[in-house]
């Protein structure tokens, strides 16, 4: 049974057909990359899946239930969580406070005007676990806005992990990163997928990363699906080579 299924999904903005005829399915535990040249519709696809706006055609099914017209907040509660191309974290707060608000939200205790010592301890434990998972324990008390770009992206992943996502959508997780930061992020994505079994869909421009870690790859071009397969199939696909890889190489 597939976790996420898109059936003939399309999205039109006025006269512009940004996406059309997208059909794909993501299996539980899969690490799926979405690639394609600029303007291929990758971010639009993410926006559709995460409920930013509804598709104008087709159906999106998550855990066997249609989610085509469900709003983002409700999708988050069902377990579809995303990061953004531009990092969205709480810049003026410390890393610990960033993770804490995420944990408190995940525990559903935001409305509480006071907190017991036991609950506070549970929150703290979970925050420390998360920091450990994303390897940010040493920077817990740094102000997030003062961290390097790569660390800020890692904090964002820590925040979304607090919600125990069933499907994690990462929009260009390594964009703008140096080599070391990229390795750190790639390692984190792989660990989250293999160790915690989180199903992930990520948009990425760096082909080395895509071919290195993705189970399967979906190639978009000009709003349409060009190909789908594992790394070897995609690398050997002549249509992909002409449309995308040839031009990138």
């Amino acid at each position: 049974m597939s976790l996420l299924v898109l059936e003939n999904v399309g999205r039109r903005f006025g006269a512009l057909q940004a996406l059309s005829g997208i059909s794909l399915s993501v299996e539980p535990g899969e690490l799926r990359a979405v690639i394609g040249p600029n303007g291929a519709g990758k971010t639009t696809l993410f926006n559709l899946i995460s409920g930013f706006f509804p598709p104008t055609d087709g159906t999106i099914i998550f855990e066997n239930k249609p989610i085509t017209a469900v709003n983002p907040t409700a999708l988050v509660r069902r377990g579809i969580i995303r990061t953004f191309q531009i990092t969205e974290i709480f810049l003026a707060l410390t890393v610990q406070e960033n993770l804490r608000i995420a944990v408190e939200t995940a525990m559903g205790i935001n409305l509480r005007p006071w907190i017991s010592a036991a609950t506070r301890a549970a929150v703290t434990r979970r925050v420390e676990d998360l920091a450990d998972t994303v390897r940010m324990s040493a920077k817990m008390h740094r102000i997030a806005g003062e961290l390097a770009h790569g660390d800020q992206r890692v904090v964002e992943i820590g925040i979304v992990l607090a919600k125990s996502p069933k499907l994690l959508l990462l929009d260009e997780p390594t964009a703008g990163m140096g080599d070391e930061e990229t390795n750190h992020m790639t390692d984190l994505i792989r660990r989250l997928n293999k160790d915690q079994g989180i199903t992930m869909l990520f948009v990425e421009h760096d082909m080395a990363i895509v071919f290195g870690i993705a189970d399967r790859i979906t190639v978009l071009d000009n709003g349409r699906m060009l190909a789908e397969g594992n790394a070897a199939e995609i690398a050997g696909n002549p249509r992909v080579q002409t449309a995308y890889l040839g031009q990138a190489a």
Partner: protein, 332 residues
């Protein structure tokens, strides 16, 4: 940041350890001692007790406003409405219904608080400048009601014919002279400040701050941010209403000016002047504002220009307010 004596943002941050905790405790202790001793030392420096009561009342209103402004990031230009409703609630109760000061204060607080709780959900439908415009519009509505409804409110002349009554507690009777009343105000201030502190250090307060910092991220964690801004608005209105009730008790009088947007502006000036990212910023702002108003207005009728000048200078040179300035200095 470990020297930040009064920001709840760092309150539960563990790493700076015991030192910070005890420093904060010590700070609170010194503050409490200074405030408790006001009736003894204030006359020595040429002040009078009612002036200190006024400082605490304005500080309380600005602290309430600051929950919304400094911690949740909502700029309200209409908090005088809830302050004024609290004042009229107290005045009308004492004039027509009861001789109990406590009951009247409770009624005034509930009246203003209820208005804020009911209007909050409307106000939070917009963000930014439109949010502020709606708060002004709603505030002015109450102002004109008070001016027009002569038979009940006394119109532009204000509401007279009531006075605060002695409070009888088991074993003690507070005559509610100037000094008694100061301690009564201080007690109300202490209770509200403690409750606000607890909220700011709980998940609810963390959520307010997170909304101020990045409401988009919070929305994408599944939080309906409007609901929380409305809650902040309501709590903030309740505190302002209690301050307004105390103001009516201090003067044994209330007028439509207590509902006017100029007073809302005064509360904003107090919060920003003192430091809106600091828990005690509004208290510092109120001390400066009320003292200056008292002294400068005895010299010139144009006291507002002097306050305006001080405000402009402070916003340019100390954008984080007086406390914010000192905190940054001590941490660098």
């Amino acid at each position: 940041m470990s020297t930040d004596l009064s920001s709840p943002r760092t309150a539960s941050t563990k790493s700076p350890g015991k030192f910070t905790m005890s420093r904060r405790g010590l700070g609170n202790l010194i503050l409490a001692a200074v405030l408790l001793a006001v009736p003894f030392w204030l006359p020595l420096v040429g002040g009078y007790t009612d002036l200190a009561s006024r400082v605490l009342i304005y500080a309380l209103a600005a602290m309430g406003l600051n929950l919304l402004l400094g911690y949740t990031g909502g700029l309200s230009f209409g908090h005088a409405a809830y302050f004024g409703l609290g004042a009229y609630g107290v005045g009308l109760m004492l004039k027509y219904e009861t001789h109990s000061t406590l009951l009247a204060l409770l009624a005034g607080t509930l009246l203003g608080g209820l208005a804020a709780a009911l209007l909050g959900p409307i106000v939070v439908r917009r963000r930014g400048i439109y949010f502020s415009m709606i708060t002004i519009a709603i505030g002015q509505m109450f102002y004109f009601i008070a001016v027009r409804w002569n038979s009940l409110t006394g119109g532009e002349d204000g509401l007279t014919g009531f006075s605060r009554q002695p409070i009888h507690l088991p074993g003690v009777t507070l005559a509610m002279g100037s000094v008694d009343f100061y301690y009564f105000v201080l007690l109300c201030f202490g209770i509200c400040a403690t409750l606000l502190w607890i909220i700011l250090n709980a998940p609810l307060g963390h959520t307010f701050v997170a909304i101020r910092e990045n409401h988009k991220r919070l929305t994408f964690l599944g939080i309906k941010t409007r609901r929380y801004i409305a809650i902040s608005f309501a709590i903030s209105g309740i505190v302002a209403a209690m301050a307004g009730g105390l103001d009516a008790l201090l003067d044994n009088f209330t007028s439509p000016n207590l509902l006017n947007y100029t007073l809302s502006g005064d509360f904003l000036i107090i919060a920003v002047l003192g430091g809106m990212r600091n828990f005690y910023g509004p208290l510092v702002g109120a001390v400066v504002f009320i003292m200056m108003r008292d002294y400068v207005s005895s010299i010139t009728d144009n006291w507002m220009s002097v306050i305006g000048l001080v405000f402009v200078v402070s916003v340019i040179f100390f954008p984080m307010g007086i406390l914010g300035f000192f905190n940054r200095k001590s941490s660098s």
